[in-house]
């Protein structure tokens, strides 16, 4: 019977851990997408330096969590976000690439949102 309860406890721990992971991802992706949306708004109003600052802040926050993200997410998804961060910053620094910046920033936001959606507990993901 001891083995039974140990197994139940491990399963419960895995379930709680998985839920905690979803919650952490939700918080992280919400913060990142909000910062990137703010950067886009600043760029729209011509404050390029402010937009760069916000995007770099988001990138810093992303890099801070890279180890954790690589351990829990498919590496292809995290690599895509890294590449999109670099592209977004490059387009932002180039004054003639405003359109490309907007498109890449939207891709980046969508990709980050996907990271959380992939781990969300819902019927769509289970099926």
């Amino acid at each position: 019977m001891k083995q039974f309860w140990i197994a139940i406890a491990i399963l419960a721990a895995i379930f709680i851990g998985s839920m905690a992971n979803t919650w952490i991802l939700h918080n992280l992706t919400t913060n990142l997408t909000a910062t990137l949306a703010q950067a886009e708004e600043l760029a729209r109003h011509g404050d390029i330096n402010g937009a760069i600052e916000k995007t770099e802040k988001a990138q810093k926050q992303w890099k801070k969590n890279t180890g954790y993200l690589y351990a829990v997410l498919r590496h292809a998804e995290t690599d895509t976000v890294e590449v999109l961060f670099m592209q977004t910053l490059e387009y932002l620094k180039d004054k003639d690439s405003a359109g490309e910046y907007m498109a890449t920033n939207q891709s980046l936001i969508a990709q980050i949102k996907l990271l959380h959606e992939m781990e969300e507990l819902n019927i769509k993901n289970v099926l």
Partner: protein
């Protein structure tokens, strides 16, 4: 490359731990739930081992979860007969009083050829000698012959055969197993004497030496390589 190496070692250790927790069943003797578990574990471990883009956790967590579920099911099957019959199935009597039970055979999708093959493997060619043949949940066939066809035992012949008891190795490929010496109630001096009477000086020269409860010795020296 180092990642592949480390991942392989980690996943291999996890699988070994899982298989050990499953018990000492061999593949041919597995219950259906155990076979499914073994297949799933192998598959789950292989994917992150080959694809470095998949986090190791994606392989390890499902394996741990599977082992836990298997452990829960095994405890439940011990506690409840109903759950046991659902998960492991029930043994089926396919031959009763020398007659085949066709409905049971159909239910288990057991053909006459397969039944006869299983019987032949157990040295039985005449179905009328079989009192019962039971298809076990592991897929093996247990056969009970009519008493007149069962092998005669020492007890039936009123023979007083000495029981040698458990035979344990004292020397295994030149290595001395001191734990077994104690278990058999002998010591190294006794062993040295036994080796000397056989013309050997060290246990390193012996391939295998076994001793039973009646102090009967099985001895085989190491072959001298040319």
């Amino acid at each position: 490359m180092i990642i592949a190496f480390l991942r392989t070692i980690i996943l291999y250790l996890v699988i070994i731990a899982g298989i050990r927790l499953m018990g000492k069943h061999q593949v041919g003797e597995m219950e259906p739930s155990e076979l499914v578990l073994a297949l799933l574990i192998a598959d789950l471990a292989a994917v992150p081992m080959q694809d470095f883009g998949i986090p190791l956790f994606n392989g390890v967590i499902p394996i741990i979860a599977l082992i836990c579920v298997a452990m829960i099911l095994s405890v439940l099957t011990v506690k409840s007969l109903k759950i046991r019959s659902i998960i492991c199935g029930k043994p089926s009597i396919v031959v009763e009083q020398g007659e085949m039970r066709q409905s049971e055979m159909q239910k288990n999708r057991l053909t006459i050829d397969e039944l006869m093959e299983e019987l032949r493997l157990q040295g039985i060619t005449d179905l009328s000698r079989v009192k019962y043949a039971i298809l076990e949940t592991s897929g093996q066939l247990s056969v009970l012959l009519y008493p007149e066809y069962q092998p005669v035992t020492a007890g039936q012949m009123s023979l007083n055969e000495k029981d040698g008891g458990l035979t344990v190795p004292l020397i295994n490929d030149g290595r001395l197993i001191t734990e077994n010496l104690k278990r058999c109630g002998v010591d190294e001096n006794w062993l040295k004497k036994q080796l000397k009477t056989r013309g050997f000086h060290s246990h390193k020269e012996v391939f295998i030496m076994m001793l039973d409860e009646n102090k009967r010795i099985y001895f085989a020296p190491k072959e001298v390589s040319k």
